[in-house]
Symmetry: C2
């Protein structure tokens, strides 16, 4: 289905979704001082088969060694390079409700290179208020921010019905990636990427799975 081009190779979506997980695990292994890891161990840790692991890693520019496995450091480096972890990702956050506030105050994201540079909301009662180190700005302030050209991603944590409007606004301003935290499906042009994180829908799915046993 959807594919993404890197240099000359095309990495399937299913693989791209897993790459960040390999990176997290590689980082953890490095921190623990582990030098080598096999596809079988990686598979066990991440809930995959060793076959899937080997196939996935064949897409990144990095080779394992027979009888040893993958060098943890090498793996981390290669994945970080592929995923572009070296440079910071600049984010705008729209929607300063509970969830938005939590995301803006979450130091973990910043530590991992995701820098939120502005928090926005359309509620006049909230605009101007402080949230952590941010002062909430009005929606009109989004466009100028993006226009500066440094913004990579817009995080949308507004109510369902406002989601598409916010997406349109961000896209018009020039943002090319959206993290959609709402239950809405966002209509976007082909040039814009959307990744959905829909907690409520996940809860629904989980509730169904638990009940149907």
């Amino acid at each position: 289905m959807e594919k993404i081009e890197l240099e000359t190779v095309c990495i399937p979506v299913s693989v791209i979704r897993r790459l960040p997980r390999y990176l997290t695990e590689a980082q953890r292994l490095c921190q623990e001082g582990v030098e080598w890891v096999s596809s079988a161990i990686l598979a066990k840790t991440l809930g995959l088969t060793s076959s899937t692991v080997r196939q996935d890693l064949s897409y990144i520019d990095f080779k394992g060694i027979s009888k040893r496995g993958y060098s943890a450091i090498g793996l981390e480096t290669a994945l970080a390079r592929t995923l572009g972890v070296d440079r910071d990702v600049v984010c705008l956050l729209v929607g300063a409700g509970n969830l938005g506030r939590a995301l803006s105050m979450h130091e973990g994201f910043a530590r991992q290179g995701f820098k939120i540079v502005g928090v926005f909301d359309n509620n006049p009662a909230i605009v101007g208020k402080k949230i952590g180190r941010f002062t909430v700005q009005g929606m009109d302030d989004i466009a100028p921010h993006v226009a500066a050209g440094t913004v990579d991603i817009g995080i949308i944590s507004v109510p369902h019905d406002a989601a598409q409007d916010v997406a349109d606004l961000l896209i018009k301003a020039g943002v090319r990636g959206l993290l959609n935290m709402t239950t809405a499906h966002l209509q976007v042009p082909e040039t814009v990427s959307v990744v959905d994180v829909r907690i409520l829908l996940s809860l629904r799915e989980l509730a169904y799975r638990v009940r149907s046993r």
Copy 2:
């Protein structure tokens, strides 16, 4: 691969993941007073093909009508029944960091039937503190809560390295569904369902997609 049994029919995972989305849309349509909706319109709204929509809906106990489409109310009712939306889902939340706090204070979940009945953390500095209408409890208080037998789901919003221990604790106490908000992969017995909501990994994926254009 993994399947889930309902009465005699087996609904594929891919379909189960979409059912909550159809429900949300059906609810919205009902609220707007729309009476009928076609698979083509549903597809457009949700970013699918009409073929997928028809196939998906063939798994729930509900039929559309030729030339008209699907009755919005009928669809909502059938999906609500299939997904078990009628009865409340009782949740425990473990991890009272920024994200945990946000989730516990989010009225949207409660409104949709997900009742959080307890918030837990292992940090003594937080235990006893108030978060919204909750008083944060220590980890030792989890087991008694679950033992009562009413708890459906555990929501895990702790740091990566604590995730598996918390999962083990919840499972031992008897919880059979976990919403995993951490980057960790949880090892669980077959009787337990896990749905992952990994914001950081989604951000990583998105950053990659935006950069590789």
